[in-house]
Subunit: 433 residues, 2 copies
């Protein structure tokens, strides 16, 4: 198994769709589906792209592309090229029954396998037994797979909560999965923080991401409940010319020097948990930190351009580091103010600390004071939170000039297991083994 | 002047960008902009597409397309083909000075003219005087125009509030701009209802829509304050195969028989205010009703397919009316249950009442009870609210089977003036004349 990367239809897709002779209407086939039974004419061949054919007249599906493989050594949605939209959900486990939780994770995995391949949940897509609720809620029917990825994590409270070993997992908690310390300036809302489980849904179409989370929540009814969720946008790959770094809600380019999904050496060094890191069930996994960072938009908008550029350590129009000409020029840290954001966040100011950032902008309407409730939903992946986000944020929380214009209002940390290897595998299988 | 429709670069664009010899960096030109002054090499020719050239080396801009003309007999964003994303904002006017309000509307119009053409706000785009805040907040730099439309309206409270004629406009209030009556089942949140002014921003990129509202709010500081705002998605023209009707959050196709922007006869009959309707300042305008409709998603998802299809009067997979085969087959109303939504909302059940719907799905995270805060942000345009939304909603509120699964939680009504005719015109000019 290799890393997950975007590609068009694969044997995996056909395999996930095929399930022997059972007919499976899919998002891509529904256009040609008259409600009658289907004959699946797809042939699977290792590594070869296949056209999924559906309908009695065996028309090719409207569009075959844009599914990200679900199976792999690592979960998709981390090193995968960033999609345009996010729906992130944190769940509380409401059942106390370990077997019920395991069954849920198996059902979730099967649903995730189908949805990321562009299919609806359940064998019948929309149930052909009208007396039952449909297997799938239906709002993504007819939409493309849209590079949907679903990335699963487990929070500290799954292992232990209020001193209680809830599911016999306490001894399996990774040392790296610490409870995040309080940082200077934090103003955390408990209702937007923490969680026993998380699922990060990313897709180029918001309706596809929202559909996925909504169906997982539906499947989980009585066993889990959504604790909080967050929609995000702003990675605009479908609308931004290639090689443009997206801008955050402060108007600055963000993520210029991020780890690319193709940099396997940096991923191995900074993102993926290695065998020697332990525990074994986390090998190939990563740790996710999510922070809801509210921006004081109205204050920022009244700040001079010179001050804004000093705060970031970048020129606003081009995105070049202070004193340089182009965005990708090597930054000269000492040319920046000592409290400039780029300078303080740079690995050279943090003993080499490097994290993979995958955040999205958000705008959640307006607060009670007529101010936009907008900012950055920061997501970072790292090999060990203690060597990644924690020392970095300690540094930033104390010194960053940006702190005058932002506030961290939500926080969560999750262990993200390795990828689901094959159809017999499921989210958390090694953890519960 | 004719109706606004989507097209690529036009003389209007070049005109808006040109302003004599003044150099204007644009979203489309910033890639080639090194911070130095620009020579604008575009030539404008009536009706002919022109390439906007920028930079000292006169490179063509990265992408020319996808601007919707701002000037026209009607405002864009009504009969314009629906874009993928919405940011709708309602404003309270905080100044009591009529001249200050007029000046704001002039500034807003100029900013809207620029942003819809794909340019930043202000002559300098990002101010070249570092001691001042930038003219534009910058987060849309490098993005395409994305078919941005900005549609402006005035609410009943602008004319009269608490018995007070605030701006000398009381006598100019259209009779058609009524305060909406209370409807059965309404559960309206005052913080999500009403407003003195509104701007509907629609674009194919959410960052472009959010940027526009945010900059209008910024320009309005001290004169207006956002009362509430709503983000929406779901018209997925960029991701849905042509001719597919989008699905709402209940998984059903929505808007099958809507008025198309090309149906000028139906637009004239049902949407545009005519000269004989009066008042004169509204000729060519329309009336907008916005309703935030929360869906009880979790209850709906536990409802059988047969019940869901009975409630709508449609088949879920194909979208065909009850008893028919294809989505666009003529509905046979009496084949549906008497309380089916499609039957009750049909013009034949409402003495011919027809409205132009332009709603968007929304998902605003989770409420305090772990349920998705999701639904439909309903927007309708009509020639007279008293002959449009009011009788229709009275009928639906009393009889619609869908009421078991939805609740109206926000409401507003606005008079939408005709289009801005030319560069000397501005939002509301005829109203204040």
């Amino acid at each position: 198994m290799t890393d997950n990367t975007t590609k068009t239809n694969t044997a995996d897709d056909a395999e996930a769709a095929g399930k022997g002779a059972k007919a499976v209407p899919s998002r891509r086939s529904i256009l040609g589906w008259g409600g009658a039974g289907l004959a699946l004419g797809a042939a699977a061949a290792g590594g070869t792209a296949v056209a999924l054919r559906t309908g009695s007249d065996a028309q090719p599906a409207a569009s075959g592309g844009d599914a990200v493989p679900f199976h792999g050594a690592h979960q998709a949605g981390i090193s995968t090229p960033v999609q345009d939209r996010l729906h992130f959900a944190s769940f509380d486990v409401t059942t106390t029954d370990r077997a019920a939780l395991v069954k849920l994770l198996q059902e979730w995995t099967e649903a995730a396998r189908r949805m990321t391949a562009g299919h609806e949940v359940g064998d019948g897509a929309i149930s052909d037994n009208g007396e039952l609720p449909p297997d799938d809620t239906g709002e993504a029917l007819g939409l493309k797979p849209s590079r949907l990825t679903l990335t699963f994590g487990v929070g500290p409270t799954l292992f232990e909560k209020d001193g209680k070993d809830r599911f016999g997992l306490k001894s399996r908690r990774p040392q790296a999965l610490i409870d995040l310390p309080a940082f200077k300036g934090d103003n955390l809302d408990a209702a937007r923080s923490g969680g026993d489980l998380c699922v990060q849904a990313c897709a180029d179409d918001p309706q596809v991401a929202v559909h996925a989370i909504r169906n997982l929540a539906r499947i989980g009814m009585g066993r889990v409940a959504i604790r909080w969720s967050q929609l995000g946008f702003g990675k605009t790959s479908s609308t931004t010319p290639d090689a443009q770094t997206p801008r955050n809600m402060m108007g600055f380019k963000d993520g210029t020097r991020n780890i690319a999904g193709t940099e396997t050496d940096r991923l191995d060094k900074h993102v993926w948990v290695s065998e020697k890191d332990g525990p074994a069930w986390m090998t190939g996994g990563s740790y996710l930190v999510a922070r809801r960072i509210r921006m004081h938009i109205e204050t920022w908008d009244r700040t001079s351009l010179a001050e804004q550029e000093d705060v970031f350590g970048r020129d606003k129009a081009e995105g070049a580091p202070t004193g340089k000409q182009r965005e990708h020029d090597e930054p000269l840290l000492k040319a920046m103010k000592p409290d400039a954001h780029v300078r303080l966040a740079h690995p050279d100011s943090n003993n080499g600390v490097t994290i993979l950032r995958r955040g999205y902008s958000f705008t959640d309407g307006t607060d009670g004071l007529g101010r936009l409730d907008a900012g950055l939903f920061f997501i970072a992946y790292q090999r060990d939170v203690r060597d990644g986000f924690v020392p970095l944020q300690k540094n930033l929380a104390h010194h960053d000039a940006l702190n005058e214009y932002i506030q961290h209002v939500g926080s969560a940390v999750f262990a993200v297991p390795p990828g689901v290897r094959d159809k017999g595998d499921w989210w958390g299988k090694a953890l519960f083994a």
